[in-house]
Amino acid sequence: MSISNYKVEFEKMLNRNYFSKSLHPYRKEAFTQLEKTGFPTQKWENWRFTNVSNISDGEFMISEISDAPQTTPDIDSYQMEGVDTVVIYNGHYQKDISSIPNGVNLLSGSEYMERKNGNFDRANNSPFDLLNTAFTDSGMCIVLEKNTLVKSPIRILFISNGDRSIMVNPRVNVDIGESSSLTFIEQHVGDATSFFQNESVFITLGDNAQLNHVRIQSNSEFTQNISNLNINQAADSQYEFFQLVDGSKLGRSDICVQLDGENAQCNINSLTLSKNNQHIDNNIIVNHNSAQTHSSQFVKSILFDTSTGVFNGRAVVHENAQKITAQQTNKNILLSKKAKMNANPQLEIYADDVKCSHGSTTGQIDEEALFYLQSRGINKQDAMELMVVGFANEVLDKIPHPEIKKAVYTEFTAKLNRLMS
């Protein structure tokens, strides 16, 4: 564990004048705390199966002005129909090629803080959240006022590029006012050869607000991707989350939902496609803090080669939170003898009027189903692909927006096809 390397970078960062000074006290406080806790080790219950030594021993540098693109980056290959895009390249906001839909306010980190009267969102103080607070570079805040329905989705496109070992700590705030709704996409792409991204996302849903959140992580296979998602939901709000992960060497999503208001609902859906020696870890906690709240977790993994996967899902029903429904479903397909999956679906319940269930299965492609398809003249290759696509479709179908669904589906099947042939 070498926080010392990060310490050098931290000092460097405090001296760069393009970072707002007003945030410095928060940064310092977070870094001091991080020095105390250190990076997680495999002795930590939530990190038992994930080794972060590549990050804790890595020598990542903060992203400098020189890491910004010299010419306007070409984003044609990431085009998505009918979607407004905000581009962040190696941690640098690309205003010229960015656009936002009507009704959305895009604020910088310091503007957002002003709006919140100097209050600074703080998460659960996990090491990576602290690291993000200390090193926050690109602050992007999406704010929707009351009663605003935004039809056109907004996307933040994170591009990582280059050969320098840089680290980027984007911090995204999404504030949806009362009775407003939005579709928000974050997409992570690039071909960096050594890169560490540690993103923190804070989502706040007001009463009766609705957010569709789509996260596509297909970063280069040499990157370390940590994502800390914190979602707070008021009464009657609805949060639909969909995630597709097929990128990065180490991918970890920490998703923490607080269902604070009555009748709040969240649906977490995730699909992972991993190959080579990728390690993808999904750590999900849903806290039912209020009565009549509902949650579902639906997580599937498809593992090739020597890749490994972790599912750590937990639904917590707190005292006096009655009339709850909580569901967890986890299904995994191992397509190679060397792939490995760890699944820990967990329920923690302190109230009695609840309906909670979870299920987890791990296995390979059903031989009999395969035989059935072959006996009907479909060759083995196609039959297998058909079955895996069918397995994935159950999750892909949860994407709320038809255009996005189409885009994700096309991308997914193309990748799968390459892996299976």
Partner: protein, 478 residues
């Protein structure tokens, strides 16, 4: 209205809480190497066993008390516990020599040690505090070639068997409580079933804690040689006391080729009173190794007692085609806490395991199912099915499920399911409507919920378990 009936149903008293007045030889509280030496001396143990104990003790000193379980309790002061307590009167061999008070105790508990009065076909080893006081049907078992005796006796009579298997499943360094047990275990049962023998009767051990301020540390070792079969039962009770007493046992099972061991427990240690005062801390390590091909180990447990239960009867499925099973019903009421479950480690090819766990939580009880299913690379075509259901009765209790699933072989098939809910109002209404009182309806529903496990118990035990369930639930309905 319903609340009251439920309350009444759950709050029945613990009826095994009496104390027996016998002269006992008890060590002063405290633990150091001298205590272990003294213990070993009393038991006239061979040199190797003393060395083994000291090794465990030295390792234990280096270990820290584990804190990961989902239970809360005040720190145990290991120096305030007495590590040996035995009735003064010697009780070797014949029943006539046993202190009549002790015989009376077992009769009161419903376990008459007098062979004529006994249930047909169940041999009992009765353990009273730190020593085994009697083993019944020894002779008839001997004819079949089965060895069933107290652990101390086994050390003297069959040292080579004990030496070969002791600590081979649960090594002395395994965990904090197992290390402590290895250092200070006083007695327990030893069973050896020779090749090809089907044990002619059920074997059973009855554990009774009597003395105050003592800990009970017994050790059970069961070895089933090739193609043998044995069914073993274990029961336990303790007097009602305000202070907590520690019970840290180790159970080791070894099944060789084609052997089968069925191990059933009805655990009814004193659970503490309704304010959570007193009760036994039941921190037990139970593990079975299916060493041989086609061997089978099956654990069935009914856990209704103890202030805190913390145990995971496990199976190591080493032999190809071996089978592991775990059936459990756990009930927590008042302030009881239970963190229990199992571990199934699949190593051999075509190994199969089944886990059925039923939890009932009432009052302020907190209950956790914690289980691990590990499928190693070598375990081709292995199969696991787990089902863990919980019922919640009352709004102050909790039920938690923490399964750990680790799959490293794609040909393995692994399924896990769990549900948690309360007794539905519609279910109760349906019963009420048909003239069944709320009390009976709850008992009916809970019994139905547990049936899958109860039917795995030997007949006599199944009846007892069902009754125990009703008693323990009394007053919980509300």
């Amino acid at each position: 209205m319903m609340d009251k009936t439920l309350d009444k149903t759950i709050a029945q008293e613990y009826k095994y809480g009496f104390e027996t007045d016998v002269k006992q030889h008890t060590f002063p509280p405290g633990l150091d190497e001298k205590v272990i030496q003294a213990l070993s001396e009393i038991k006239q143990e061979p040199e190797w066993l003393l060395k083994w104990r000291l090794k465990a003790y030295r390792h234990w000193l280096k270990m820290a008390e584990p804190g990961w379980a989902n239970v809360k309790f005040t720190h145990i002061d290991y120096q305030s516990i007495s590590y040996y307590s035995a009735p003064r009167k010697k009780s070797a061999g014949s029943l006539d020599e046993i202190d009549p008070e002790i015989l009376e105790t077992y009769t009161k508990l419903g376990i008459p040690l007098n062979e004529q009065k006994m249930l047909e076909g169940v041999a009992v080893d009765a353990v009273f505090d730190s020593v085994s006081v009697a083993t019944t049907f020894k002779d008839s078992l001997k004819k079949a070639g089965v060895i069933f005796c107290s652990f101390s006796e086994a050390v003297k009579e069959y040292p080579e068997l004990v030496k070969k298997y002791l600590g081979s499943v649960v090594p002395v360094t395994d965990n904090y409580y197992a290390a402590l047990n290895s250092a200070v275990f006083s007695d327990g049962s030893f069973v050896y079933i020779p090749k090809g023998v089907r044990c002619p009767m059920e074997l059973s051990t009855y554990f009774r804690i009597n003395a105050a301020n003592t800990g009970q540390f017994e050790r059970t070792l069961i070895v089933a040689d090739e193609s043998s079969h044995v069914s073993y039962l274990e029961g336990c009770t303790a007097p009602m006391r305000d202070e907590n007493q520690l019970h840290a046992a180790v159970v080791e099972l070894v099944a060789l080729d084609n052997a089968e061991i069925k191990y059933s427990t009805v655990q009814n240690w004193y659970p503490g009173d309704k304010d959570g005062k007193g009760g036994i801390y039941n921190f037990v390590t139970k593990r079975g190794a299916c060493r041989g091909v086609k061997s089978k180990i099956s654990w069935t447990q009914v856990e209704t007692g103890s202030a805190i239960t913390w145990k995971y009867p496990s199976c190591i499925l080493q032999g190809d085609d071996s089978v592991g099973e775990f059936y459990s019903v756990a009930l927590t009421n008042n302030f009881q806490q239970a963190d229990t479950g199992t571990k199934m480690i699949h190593i051999g090819k075509n190994t199969k395991s089944t886990i059925i766990s039923k939890g009932i939580s009432a009052g302020r009880g907190q209950q956790t199912y914690r289980g691990e299913v590990k499928i190693m690379k070598s375990a081709e075509n292995s199969r696991n099915y787990s089902q863990c259901d919980s019922i919640l009765i009352g709004d102050k209790c909790g039920a938690h499920t923490f399964p750990y699933i680790d799959v490293r072989n794609p040909s393995a098939q692994m399924e896990h399911e769990a549900t948690t809910s309360n007794i539905g109002e519609d279910q109760l209404f349906y019963c009420n409507q048909r003239g069944i009182s709320t009390e009976d309806a709850v008992s009916l529903i809970v019994n139905g919920f547990c049936k899958e496990v109860f039917k795995k118990l030997p007949m006599e035990f199944a009846v007892e378990a069902q009754k125990l369930m009703e008693v323990s639930l009394e007053g919980a309905v509300g």
